[in-house]
């Protein structure tokens, strides 16, 4: 792999950009691999990369039904934060946020990590108390967040209306090192770095069956033929239930649509991410100037990856009260992704009832921020055959044992 650098840029500029090579290889699938990862989204590619880099396992295939990063990795609102209440969540999300800080250098690929700060608004007394509790929990977990006053909120977020009639801003939970990154670049960067370490990334290869022999996985059936493997890791978010059914078990997961939209580009007006959980909307401004807006997930099972108009209205209506200036913005694009929701709104990184088969799913509406930490922890589990400290709390056993990692009640919002 030729490294990207200012010298490479100068060299290519001098020869009319004829020397750039493809970012990753597109090999034909081999008949056997040590590890097969299903799903070339951020989490799957990060798992492949850390397996190769941290654990020296290079005989890996990443199979993707569609195109690389075309699922939720390319459909989210790119927010990165780690201000979670529970210790287990705080550990893995902070690991991810920490890895994001140096990911561009690590991958030699500009993922445009922008630690512009994340402001979570408190718009009811209850929310204010809950956020204070989170701020204390964050301090104990070593995560840098602070409670700020309405006046400070207004200083940081110039366009906000803090004295709204229904939901005045009573304070905010401010994480200065949270922010955004370019979501596609995260997938592309991991793909390029993993491919360079020998990982085969095979796109347009749909898994149609899981081969088992006496309760242990032996390979997968795909639209491009059978592929054998010693270990199988399924990282397919919204399609997790479908893959689990192929392997003969069920998951505590339901797939629903989550929608987002962007406005026409305007001049810079907001240099951080703002989340309003009471009215349920969040917003940031992209480098192009578009306001990137997200809302809540649908309440019913859905695999269509499409949006719906009443959700658009619901989300924008919620934000107009807090940001009156967006009321005349035109919305440009609107899309949906299929997210995998668990009962406690925490992910699953776990062994499965099938020997040699692992699963990483259940990130629900907040998977993007976790990609590096999730890949790191999943790679540890696949390499060792059992999860280490980071992933262990997120096992499937917790649903039998009642050992929930309850981020649903903690945030009073799907996230």
């Amino acid at each position: 792999m030729k490294r990207y650098s200012v010298f490479a840029l100068a060299r290519e500029a001098a020869r009319h950009h004829t020397g750039w090579e493809r970012a990753w290889r597109s090999p034909l699938p081999k008949s056997d691999y040590e590890v097969v990862i299903v799903g070339a989204g951020g989490h799957g590619l990060a798992t492949a990369y850390y397996l190769a880099r941290n654990h020296g396992i290079r005989n890996i295939a990443v199979l993707e039904k569609g195109w690389l990063g075309g699922g939720n990795t390319g459909r989210n609102t790119t927010i990165i934060r780690s201000n979670y209440l529970q210790d287990e969540s705080a550990a893995i999300y902070e690991k991810a946020r920490g890895l994001y800080e140096t990911l561009s250098q690590d991958l030699n690929y500009n993922i445009m990590f922008s630690p512009r700060g994340v402001m979570m608004l408190c718009q009811t007394e209850h929310e204010l108390r809950a956020m204070k509790r989170t701020a204390h929990a964050n301090r104990l977990a070593g995560i840098e967040t602070e409670m700020v006053s309405p006046r400070r909120v207004k200083e940081i977020v110039k366009i906000i209306e803090t004295g709204g009639p229904r939901y005045p801003v009573l304070g905010g939970l401010w994480q200065p090192r949270g922010g955004t990154a370019r979501h596609d670049a995260v997938a592309w960067g991991y793909a390029r770095a993993a491919s360079d370490l020998g990982v085969d990334i095979i796109q347009q290869c749909e898994v149609t069956g899981v081969d088992r022999d006496g309760g242990a996985v032996t390979g997968v059936q795909t639209s491009r033929g059978a592929i054998g493997c010693k270990k199988l890791c399924v990282v397919v978010a919204g399609s997790s239930g479908v893959l689990a059914e192929m392997a003969g078990f069920r998951l505590p997961v339901e797939s629903v649509a989550l929608q987002a939209l962007v406005s026409e580009p305007i001049k810079p007006c907001m240099d951080c991410v703002v989340m309003a959980n009471t009215v349920h909307g969040y917003m940031s401004q992209s480098d192009k100037g578009e306001m990137v807006i997200g809302g809540g997930a649908d309440g019913f099972n859905n695999y269509t990856q499409r949006g719906s108009f009443q959700h658009l209205e619901e989300t924008v209506r919620a934000l107009i009260e807090t940001f009156p200036m967006i009321s005349r913005l035109k919305m440009l694009r609107h899309w949906g992704g299929i997210v995998d929701m668990t009962g406690d709104r925490s992910p699953i990184i776990s062994k499965t009832p099938v020997e040699g088969m692992f699963i990483n799913c259940g990130w629900g509406t907040g998977g993007f921020k976790a990609i590096p930490g999730s890949g790191w922890a999943t790679a540890e589990m696949v390499a060792d055959g059992a999860p280490r400290a980071l992933a262990a709390p997120f096992s499937l056993d917790r649903f039998t044992e009642g050992r929930m990692i309850d981020e649903s009640v903690a945030a009073a919002v799907a996230h």
Binding site: S239, G241, V242, E245, R250, L251, P252, V253, E254, S255, D298, G299, F300, N301, N302, Y303, T304, S308, F309, Q310, T342, G343, F399, T400, E401, G402
Partner: protein, 107 residues
């Protein structure tokens, strides 16, 4: 927008008038059941890409619960029926089979 027929009011209700209630026909566990059975009842879900049976409530109408048979891949609605049954009625199953000949059937 999803539009379902309320079997009690006999009106077509829009998604914004309805409240989703998750997977239908779950078997409620009792005190004698073991942990795995409770896990299955509380958390494990069928979550199919295709034919799905669900509970819905006509929240901004009559307020009553009812059942719906729906395709999660195309959003096609096969029909709605009374909440007072533990399995889908035959006419709904026949409708699904006519639209999805390779459907495995209700388990």
């Amino acid at each position: 927008m999803l539009i379902l027929h309320c079997p009690y009011c006999d009106v077509m209700a829009e998604e914004t008038d309805l409240a989703p209630g998750g997977e239908a026909h779950l078997r409620r566990e009792a005190t004698a059941s073991d942990d795995a059975a409770f896990r299955d009842y509380l958390f494990q879900r069928r979550n199919p890409r295709g034919v799905h049976f669900e509970r819905w409530r006509h929240a901004f109408g009559c307020g009553k619960w009812f059942h719906a048979a729906r395709c999660t891949q195309t959003l096609e609605v096969f029909g709605t029926y009374s909440a007072q049954v533990s399995t889908p009625p035959d006419d709904i199953l026949a409708k699904i089979r006519s639209r999805r000949p390779d459907w495995k059937g209700f388990e």
